[in-house]
Subunit: 344 residues, 2 copies
């Protein structure tokens, strides 16, 4: 089959690799019909050292081609959503809704499991991982359903971990797909005020449609001052950090209210950060977040998509076929595209 | 009056300073009858650069001598507890129970407000700050009541912010007074398992009496392995970090369960710390805590003390008069005393 491989910084290629096959009785073989490029794929795309190429991509919808003998919840022909981590659904952490910490699970593109920007993939632990959806693989709802594999679930996770609810004020840092869907999720959970910090007018316009009450384009000290102006001087109860770089984190503790929460879902591109008296401790600010249990949220978020209430798939502003994936990476890295849909 | 002044590292002296007086109509003048030395006083005692001397001490019980014209909730003769921050009790943060962030409040030993290891003190915003108690200044309950000014409230805060409740497993790092009272608070909130990490047998023995189910004396990697052994390999839901130094923080993220919480109440002696994918982000671990709103917890914690159910005052193992304060600091710094009660 053909699959996307990352060779190094700025270097992704679509090449022939061995076809995936059923190896374990709990596997499913899925033909990928829709996938996408993630903001987090841009981290290795921006920095990977040249070396052994690796498959890439962790968000997809596809059609089940075959299942192992022990698989009971999906069958050949089902259209399924895969979250960005595979998991057994039965271990202590899965039962608590923390599938990325599944005792027997893992992530795409690790070990002998390949990635989502490809024609097909072997899905381990299919019963725990895959969620069948009642639409065809070409349905108009597919882009929105595809966001359940990662970006909408991740935006929702940020809001849930931050404790967003009615009467909550929220700042969302970052106008990428996760930031915009964190706005949608915060609105869905009843947030009273949602300040979106982002510099790309076409994206922040979409953020307003998703529920942002104000947009702040300034960054750094100037941006912090603007958010404080909008919040009676105190900042917001919750700050969702959907970027992953240090300036975004510094902005986060600059705009969070005393006693508030910084919820991070941008994968941190740093290991150490300020957490002492002068940044978060002195004001009783909590720091939370992590890789979203996208699998845990699918059932909750699905109905609003199926009935047309919410359209998270509006974050896709470009569609490519597999051959177009390298150009898709360039477009996202250059901020020409917000999020690229891949139709293998 | 006589008051304790810190001149530099290892150098505290008891000297004559001007008597405090009522300055604002919201002030009270309090004659201090019981005070103490705090683990956090040991931080400047260990590191303060020589320079202008400053008063020190932030935990006390005393008798009201006089009040300003606007004070209505306490009167001359009342025995009162003072929390370690003074606050108006009416601002937006006080109403939310976050008195250390009071818009009009502050901390002892700042501006023209002196400290608690002294004969008397001017208490600003007396109505918001002071809590009268129905016992005499020499009552046998005074040591336990005195812990409400800081260390018991701080231990309780750690447990509350960590989300301790029934079926929660907890690790408490640190066998100082705050650590031991975090054990008591966790037990009171219903924790199922409480692992106390500490090396001083006399202290950890008291920790067992307060509710610790296991004690781990090892530190670092060895200590982490021991806690994991005691918790099915996964660590505990909550880790209370009651020390403030980096090795304790590193221990904290070594023993916390995926999806769990590190609750810090030891004042961090560092500004940056690991919070990236490899420490807390990857496992969805939250970091919380800060200066306790001791004032907010007094009414909740008082009844168990007044009726004798709990005796947090057992953390005091030495009593000195004002002249004995310098020796008290030495004893605590040398770990000869757990916590020193001062009777001015």
């Amino acid at each position: 089959m053909r699959a996307t491989l990352i060779y190094g910084a700025g270097d992704v290629r679509v090449e022939n690799v061995p076809d995936p096959t059923i190896k374990e009785p709990t596997d499913a073989l899925v033909r990928i019909t829709s996938a996408c490029i993630c903001g987090s794929d841009l981290h290795p795309y921006g920095s990977k050292e040249a070396g052994a190429p690796a498959t890439i991509g962790h968000e997809f919808i596809g059609v089940v081609e075959a299942v192992g003998a022990d698989v009971t919840s999906v069958r050949a022909g089902d259209v399924v959503i895969a979250p960005f981590a595979w998991s057994d659904g039965t271990c202590v952490f899965c039962r608590e809704g923390l599938q990325p910490s599944c005792l027997h699970g893992g992530f795409w593109n690790s070990g002998d499991v390949t990635g989502g920007q490809a024609e097909a993939v072997r899905v381990p632990l299919a019963d725990g991982t895959l969620v069948p959806v009642p639409v065809g693989a070409d349905d108009a709802l597919i882009p929105s359903l595809l966001t359940l594999s990662d970006v909408y679930g991740t935006g929702h996770h940020a809001a849930v971990k931050g404790g967003v609810g009615p009467r909550t004020t929220v700042t969302v840092i970052g106008d990428g797909a996760v930031g915009l869907l964190a706005v949608m999720a915060s609105r869905r959970l009843g947030a009273e005020q949602i300040v979106l910090m982002g510099r790309h007018a076409s994206r922040t316009d979409l953020g307003r449609e998703f529920g942002a009450t104000e947009v702040v384009a300034e960054r750094g000290e100037e941006g912090i001052a603007r958010v404080r102006d909008l919040t009676g001087g105190h900042g917001t109860h919750v700050v969702i950090e959907a970027v992953g770089h240090m300036p975004a984190y510094e902005q986060a503790y600059g705009v969070v209210r005393p006693g508030g929460v910084i919820s991070r879902v941008g994968v941190p591109q740093y290991e150490s950060a300020p957490v002492g008296f002068g940044s978060i401790f002195g004001l009783n600010i909590a720091l939370t977040g992590g890789p979203a249990p996208a699998r845990a949220y699918i059932e909750e978020l699905l109905p609003d998509i199926l009935d047309g209430t919410l359209e998270p798939g509006r974050v896709f502003d470009r569609t490519v076929d597999l051959d177009g994936v390298p150009a898709g990476y360039r477009a996202m890295a250059d901020r020409e595209a917000l999020k690229v849909l891949v139709r293998p």
